[in-house]
């Protein structure tokens, strides 16, 4: 498997992701996660117009510090990593995935944009209510045998499967 390949085995990729727990636990003293970064960004944006944000516990506690900024840096790194990987292999993607034509009959960005926006809103709202996402509860929570994470992941698959089955078969 090289960077020039357009596809690796899912096992190789999954093992590589799982190994990232080593620097996470040893150097940052936390588990892998991604959805908190949305709160960090949101809190900073909100604080530009709302001075009371730094008194709102939940938003304020996501704004500064090594753990918060580490996670924000990591999701930015994901953008870079995916971009570099795509360029090296030449696996260029289209503006929107052709799966949407099959699933919901959408093949234009202008039609897909509100759906993507709504999806993102519901997704992160749910992740913050549950205090974790596929990475935080899934990859990290289940690796720690956390009961709450297992419940959250089960609910996540249930919600995702039920919703996907409402779409046309892809």
């Amino acid at each position: 498997m090289t960077l020039r390949n357009k596809a690796w085995s899912p096992y190789a990729a999954g093992i590589l992701i799982g190994l990232l727990q080593i620097p996470a636990f040893l150097l940052i003293e936390t588990a892998l996660g991604t959805s908190s970064s949305y709160v960090t960004i949101a809190a900073h944006i909100a604080s530009l117009v709302d001075a009371s944000v730094d008194k709102m516990d939940y938003l304020a506690k996501h704004m500064y510090g090594a753990k918060n900024l580490w996670q924000l840096a990591m999701v930015m790194g994901i953008v870079v990593g995916a971009f570099v990987s795509m360029r090296i292999s030449g696996a260029r993607r289209q503006a929107i995935s052709p799966v949407w034509k099959r699933a919901v009959g959408i093949d234009k960005l202008s039609s897909r944009a509100p759906m993507a926006f709504a999806g993102g809103f519901i997704m992160v709202l749910g992740a913050r209510i549950a205090d974790g996402c596929t990475t935080g509860h899934g990859i990290s929570g289940m690796a720690q045998l956390a009961v709450g994470s297992t419940v959250a992941v089960a609910a996540m698959f249930a919600g995702a499967i039920a919703t996907a089955l409402l779409m046309k078969r892809v």
């Binding site: 003293e29 996670q71 840096a73 992160v124 609910a155 996907a164 892809v170």
Partner: protein, 210 residues
Amino acid sequence: MNVLSAIVLGVAMGAVFGIALEKSRVFEPGAIVSQMQLRTFLMLKIFLSAVITGLIVLAVLNGVWGVKMHPKALVWQADIVGGLLLGAGISIAGACPGTVFAQIGAGYRDAWFTVAGGILGAMAFGYLEPALRPFLLTGGPGKLTFDQAAHVPFWALALGVAAVLAAGLAVLEQLRPWRDEVGPDVDGLAPAGERPVATGARSSLSSASA
């Protein structure tokens, strides 16, 4: 660790994460929707591989060196309601909070809208949190792990679960080899031949791929 080092480490870890997501193709909306329709299983394979690796890594880190764990608390209603919404959003967005960023890196333009919606969702939650907290976000036994509940050492249960999951993956790979599911093009679509359509659709897809 100081903030600057944490940021540098974050970018480096993210770059590795992003490469793994892109190469595995799991970040593609097609891979996610078809997984959730139970048509392909690439996402499950990556997910479980990462969990198994994490279980083994943590069994060693915690079992040998006593490295501290960071499980999240069990809050039944928050985990269930939040999980359901998260799942619904994942299917509608064709992404999870982390893979959205890989989508941006790889060139999907709708991913920008997903992130924007996600940021607004996080902001909305931040403002709603004090009102939701009393009934939705509290309660339950706190940070509970299965090894604590079963009164066995973490490393032992972790390795046992890892073995069971690995066996499950071996069976899954036999039934649904990953190479068959990667598809003829880089858009995470299951090969058209598996769909109940006329053979004309299959040949037009193969002539479109590089």
